[in-house]
Symmetry: C2
Subunit: 426 residues, 2 copies
């Protein structure tokens, strides 16, 4: 029984593309079919490539020569961006080709549309996007294949390696601006770091994870999102005194009513105080981690490299192997309409910078009372005498943010308070 090799057309040959090509050129454990990349579409065919191009591979600048090639069964999109990449992915699927992509932005904005198209094409096309979220962690296939008889209550994760690296450095005393400059010089952070440090990257990822875990499309732009730009080493001092660290977390949590997780779905991105004993605290450096809480399994967690050439390329290759063996889930699990509620509930950490003054505690108490928020403790570092931290009891975030705005208006306050939820055990 001879099986034709799986012929692949690849769009893009950058960092991830080069990694995919190199892995496929090596020893692949795919017993059923050999896999070859017959064409790679690039913008500039004359540009030198950092990988060795095998004789069976043609470099072209014409994407249509891939899309219109009947021999090519699978298109691997590793060019990035949403504009033309989307047209090419849709075009490939419509021509009956399977697609594997590492394109987080594309998936975050278009997953539902792509799902519908894959569904319309019946069993003819497969679609894999394992590499789009948490590069080296197989969270997409795990969500598609391991919770079929289960009900997920919550998914939360550290999904951005750049900010996790930066927070790790800040935990050791470095200032935000210095760490950012270092991350940029190391190539971890972009020249424009907005997508990372403002949490937009995590927001796109948690929207994808929420779609898979709960079957609900989460409009990315509507997810409340706070980045790490306001965090300072003093916050780590306070966190340490509470046996916590600080992590940038994307969270999608089904609210419980009467003990059942059948309420609205809260989705948000924010730095959080994470207890040192919590499994998410163990994601160090540029690592990623995802924790899932479900009815049957309790808490399961998955950690690994979030980005980088080979982790990301490895996930693309795993998808390619799954497509070649028809082992990929298609269409997609679950579709249900769950109400979204972005006004989530938590205990909160509020750090307030002030000019020394009398009656600060009284005034904070009054403002908490006004917003019907219970304060569980007030702390002041012995080193930083112009900061204090208020820990609230459980409260809705909107109420806490409104109180923070009131606090910011006080004449003894130097800048807008920093507000972070405390991560509670799943």
């Amino acid at each position: 029984m001879t099986v034709k090799p799986l012929k692949i057309g690849m769009l893009g040959a950058g960092t991830v593309g080069a990694g995919v090509y190199e892995i496929l050129a090596g020893r692949i454990n795919n017993p059923h079919r050999s896999i070859i990349v017959t064409k790679i579409a690039v913008r500039d065919t004359s540009k030198p490539r950092e990988f060795n191009i095998l004789s069976h591979t043609t470099i072209t600048s014409d994407v249509n020569s891939i899309l219109d090639d009947d021999e090519i069964e699978l298109v691997v999109e590793v060019m990035g961006g949403v504009g033309v990449a989307k047209d090419f992915v849709i075009g490939a699927l419509k021509r009956g080709k399977s697609v594997v992509t590492a394109n987080k932005a594309l998936i975050a904005e278009n997953l539902t549309e792509i799902e519908n198209l894959v569904h319309e094409m019946g069993g003819r096309v497969k679609f894999g996007f394992e590499a789009a979220v948490c590069g080296g962690i197989p969270i997409i296939s795990v969500l598609q294949n391991c919770y079929n008889g289960d009900v997920i209550n919550e998914i939360m994760g550290i999904c951005n390696g750049t900010t996790n690296y930066m927070l790790g450095k800040m935990e050791n005393g470095a200032e935000y601006s210095d760490v950012l400059a270092e991350a940029q010089s190391l190539g971890f952070a972009e020249a424009d770091p907005t997508a990372d440090v403002e949490g937009h990257d995590v927001r796109a990822k948690i929207a994808i994870l929420a779609r898979l875990a709960f079957g609900t499309t989460v409009p990315v732009e509507s997810v409340p999102c706070t980045g790490i730009t306001q965090i300072s080493p003093i916050d780590f001092s306070y966190a340490k005194s509470m046996s916590c660290t600080i992590k940038l977390i994307g969270c999608a949590r089904r609210l419980s009513q009467y003990g059942e997780y059948d309420g609205a779905l809260s989705v948000y991105v924010t730095p959080m105080l994470v207890p040192n004993s919590h499994l998410l605290a163990s994601a160090s450096g540029a690592g990623n981690a995802v924790a899932v809480s479900s009815a049957n399994l309790g808490i399961t967690s998955y950690t690994g490299a979030g980005a980088g050439r080979f982790p990301t390329a490895n996930s693309v290759v795993a998808d390619i192997c799954r497509v070649s063996s028809s082992l990929i889930s298609s269409p997609f699990p679950r579709s249900s309409a769950i109400e979204l509620d972005f006004d989530f509930i938590s205990d909160f950490y509020i750090r307030i910078s002030f000019q020394d003054s009398i009656g600060i505690i009284r005034r904070l108490g009054e403002l908490a009372e006004k917003h019907e928020i219970n304060i569980s403790s007030v702390m002041q570092s012995k080193i930083h005498l112009t900061d204090c931290v208020v820990i609230t009891e459980e409260s809705k975030v909107d109420r806490v943010l409104a109180m923070c705005e009131d606090i910011a208006r006080e004449d003894w306050v130097r800048c807008k308070p920093l507000c972070m939820p405390l991560l509670q055990d799943l």
Copy 2:
């Protein structure tokens, strides 16, 4: 397009079987096919069951009525044991039925034989055993599907919930015998706890994981195996002073030669000192955790419930869904012959109980010199003046064990020294 439901015959209706039946009776996210259990074989059909048996399910004591039922495509084996369970699994596969099993002992002893049979049957039968190792952690499907283009260097894990629970209690000061009695009264530990506390359960599991990660059949009985029976709270005191905890670890590690992980494969089970910052340290209570180190991904880890009705049943149901959608890997990844070498290398922790005497350190130094072992430190707790701990530099385990035997023969030594490797970062 109507698809016939997938009809299942289940062998056994104990804890896991009841969980599987209950989950399947609920809402399953399996868009392609409905799934029904038409027959359940049990020893005693008159015994009351703790789950509600639906009208489409027949309870029988005749396993052959399942094996010979042409309508049944999939046999779910949740009866346990190796004897008849093996005959039934082999019988079902030979009759062209797919099999899903939660039977660790069966897999550990017979995986290669079953693989060969599945291979002989071509694409007709699928075989799933996700639930056999680390109940709620999808480590089997992850190893089968996510490392196809990768090379695994090491896999190590906390694979036994009972002992992890016991060690957690001992970390808080409880004595081994008290913790064992408590675990038995809670139903965590068996009346005969040997399989758990002596590490045999972990040994079977690491042999299975090594088979999947490295493609090499590891004879279970030949794996060096030390349990937790010698551990005492004093070891946790010493571990704490080294910012470590103690975990029972199953490990399969490809030895590196010249920087490549292409040497022999070491497999062993032993309690280890694990740095508190290590991700395996975060598996608490009866939880399990597995860490994989590979060329492309670096370190990935997976944590979750290791056992229990619903975690284990959930993995069985995930396999059932994968079989029903033909999404299960078959045959199995990798087959290669790697040399096995059980004489692994590590730093070691050696605790020695002695009657106070003069010249102990000198004598320890002589014995270390005799066995060509370098000592990196000697510690003595201020509370326990009749114990000391020696930390060695990297050494082969056989050499360290030989030294421990020599130490045990000294007349100032009260009992055989306790020897544990220090877990090094993956």
